[in-house]
Amino acid sequence: MKLVTGNDLVSGDVIWWTGSGWSRFIADAVEAGPDGEATGAREEAARRVNGPYVVEAADGPLGPVPLHIKERIRASGPTVRLDLGVQAEKQGIA
Amino acid sequence: MTLIRFRDDEAHEEPAVTLDAFFGQSNATAVRVEPGEDVRVLLPYLDRLQLIEIAFPKFRDGRGYSSARILREAGFTGELRAAGDVLLDQVVILRRCGFDALVSDHVLDADKVNEALARFPAVYQKAADAKQPVWALRHG
């Protein structure tokens, strides 16, 4: 499946297109379909995302799982600091 | 396109010809230099030239800054115009390199330009403008 991702302009957070907005949690991401780039461009012009691009992912039990390790790291946080990033929030650490 | 000038004289009317065209005709008084062109070929003609336009097709291509300084160092006193992708944020360094006119692809607000030019109270190095670098101020 194809997801649209980018960074939040203000916070720099990694964000994922949910179909109606942007979420920091990849579990909320939706299949962007063929219009992913156009969606990204529209959202970027409105400053709701910075530097959007399309990413390949597979379906997983807890939501989409990006195929490339870089995107998996973006989706969760640094693998060497499990207390930082989205992964920590999901664990209730941060 | 905004033209902003920092000169008291009238803007030069004659359009700037390309470097090739300049060397093809004997009476042009305005020439345009592209980033990859060697501005030193104009050194013998500086007395005749009233306007030299330095093209900035992309603001990140900084070759025009060297071209401008070289011309001022050689004694060119005519209008030195930066043309193209010129943003507010390049105005200070363009002036310091000797440009006294800007024609930008973007809208430039004259008030913001003046604000930018007044922002830094001192400069660290000598350039093509008349500003004294800090080391000169420190040691009289």
Binding site: N50, I69, I73 | Y65, A122, R138, H139
Partner: protein
């Protein structure tokens, strides 16, 4: 160290307001990202994997306790309580928000710090030897010249839109502790036969995709012509450096393509012209700056005897401490490479501890090394035990300087948007494999460097053992190279064979070092043995098929 006068302070203050205005114009949509990006980079602000990253300048790696405390404060207030010391002597914060950036710069400005030109296609932080001013082998302290060049390069109107980034290093001794020959311009202080101070000028070194050792362009440049000559060097680069291909835009490519002789010719021609412009600051300016780098009042009669009866203290002493040029004193390196730790990272608490130690024991001065450690440059030998005790309490007393676990590593794919592979977990695994200190000391000096991509921020080309992370069909893979050096015997490492998985390369490194132990001659480091015997014995050991 250098102290701002009202001009320096006014410059950083104005820069903060300029940047604040630029951020507002970006946030309001008046500027696009394409227009904003080069501007934010020139204030050290990157957009990385998880957030914005801010790179704070530590000019030539020197700072005082007040500045260190501010770095800790910013880590706590605006980031996640830690910072990362880099291979260019700077500090990076990884979790910055755009709308905090100008406030952070404003706070830094209150302690004479900034993030000016720590990124972008401009002249970057000028680095220097971390023992400058304290080492006995120095001809002169390189830092006054680094400061002179810092000011010259700051907001230099002609050189803010170069083809690519530009890195300068200055050293003052024969031993090159700053990897000077792997910089765009490397400057080495020396005296000529008449006793006059000047520089050897090397131009065109660098790492990245096409590593090169800089050729010597000028064998003696009088010290008072430094600015003019560099102006000429940079002008030739700005005019003729390639702008058609991002990967061929550094000055090393220009020097390589036209040849060192032709580059020198063009520079000398431009230099003749530039000299007529009177760009060099007067001697009085260098004297003014140099006076601020005068040696602190160190008492040469301070006791030199050290009580070594604590064996752990003795181990640390032997590894981390070298003699100062003043008797009774020493230079201490604080390791930021604990076993299993993240190389170069320090918590806000640790940064505060180091700041206090500097104020109490090192005449309020610290250095950041390009190997991502911290130095206390002016310490009394009599205080070493007390310093070690305090470092121990804060996890800062690992005795591994220049040993296998003193790894240089870039942040890699855990943090960096440019990376192809992670570097930190690999560094952690290697330090764990070699955790035994006796083993480390037996192996001796091994400079192992890891980069997560070809940009080589981990300086892997200059590693005795270098590791480059690559993306091999979506999987992380690691290439192993031997024989690099960033010292005065600068050389670029050579890849020895096919790449490895993360676990595979840890095994390969171990096999290489065991091979070294088996064939080394007395006194040889790993690098020396490799240079003597070549890669064959190592390849045989690493790539041998396991017998069934």
């Amino acid at each position: 160290m250098y102290k701002y006068d009202e001009y320096d302070q006014a410059m950083v203050d104005a820069r903060v307001e300029e940047f604040r205005d630029q951020c507002n114009r970006r946030l309001s949509g008046e500027m696009t990202e394409d227009q904003f990006k080069p501007l934010r980079l020139m204030n050290g602000l990157y957009l990385q994997l998880h957030a914005y990253m801010l790179r704070v300048a530590v000019p030539y790696g020197t700072l005082d306790s007040r500045q260190m405390h501010m770095l800790a404060h910013i880590a706590r207030k605006y980031d996640r309580g830690y910072g990362h010391f880099t291979t260019r002597q700077n500090l990076q914060y990884n979790w910055i928000k755009l709308d905090d950036a100008a406030d952070i710069l404003a706070e830094l400005a209150t302690v004479e710090m900034h993030a000016i030109q720590t990124s972008g296609n401009c002249i970057r932080n000028i680095s220097a030897d971390q023992y400058a001013g304290a080492a006995a082998d120095e001809v002169a302290d390189p830092r006054p010249y680094a400061e002179l060049l810092r000011q010259w390069s700051t907001f230099h109107p002609e050189f803010l839109m170069l083809p690519r980034k530009f890195k300068i290093a200055v050293i003052g001794a024969d031993e090159d502790r700053a990897a000077m020959k792997l910089h765009d311009i490397g400057l080495k202080l020396l005296k000529n036969a008449a006793g006059e101070l000047g520089f050897e000028v090397y131009v065109g070194g660098g790492q990245g995709r096409t590593p090169m050792v800089a050729p010597l362009i000028r064998d003696f440049l009088p010290a008072d012509e430094l600015v003019s000559y560099l102006e000429a060097c940079l002008r030739v680069y700005n005019r003729y450096g390639r702008r058609d291909n991002l990967y061929k835009a550094r000055i090393k490519i220009l020097v390589h393509e036209i040849g060192a002789d032709e580059y020198r010719r063009q520079v000398e021609e431009e230099f003749l012209h530039v000299k007529t412009l009177a760009l060099d600051p007067p001697a009085a300016e260098l004297e003014r700056i140099a006076a601020m780098f005068a040696l602190p009042p160190l008492d040469p009669t301070a006791p030199a005897e050290i009580d070594r009866s604590d064996p752990d203290f003795a181990l640390w002493l032997d590894q981390q401490v070298v003699d100062h040029k003043v008797p009774g004193h020493a230079i201490v390196t604080i390791s930021l490479k604990p076993t299993g730790g993240i190389p170069g990272d320090a918590s806000a608490d640790q940064i505060d501890v180091m700041a206090k130690l500097a104020r109490e024991f090192s005449h309020d001065e610290l250095r950041v090394t390009h190997a991502q450690n911290i130095v206390l440059p002016h310490v009394r030998k009599a205080d070493l035990y007390a310093i070690w005790t305090r470092l121990e309490e804060s996890g800062l007393a690992t005795p591994n300087l220049d040993l296998i676990t003193d790894i240089i590593a870039c942040p890699g794919l855990d943090y960096c948007a440019l990376a192809n592979a992670r570097s930190i977990p690999l560094a952690q695994k290697i330090t764990e494999r070699f955790a035994n200190l006796d083993r480390q000391r037996d192996l001796g000096e091994v400079k192992l460097k890891i980069s997560g991509c070809i940009n080589a921020c981990g300086h892997h080309h200059a590693g005795h053992i270098g590791i480059l992370g690559v993306d091999r069909k979506g999987e992380e893979n690691y290439q192993l190279s031997f024989g690099g050096s960033g010292a005065e015997d600068a050389s670029v490492g050579k890849i020895i064979g096919p790449g490895f998985s993360e676990d595979g390369i840890v095994d390969a490194v171990e096999k290489a070092l065991e091979t070294y132990r088996g064939i080394r001659i007395e006194g040889e480091r790993f690098l020396d043995t490799y240079r003597r015997v070549g890669s064959d014995p190592f390849k045989a050991a690493i790539y041998e098929k396991a017998s069934v």
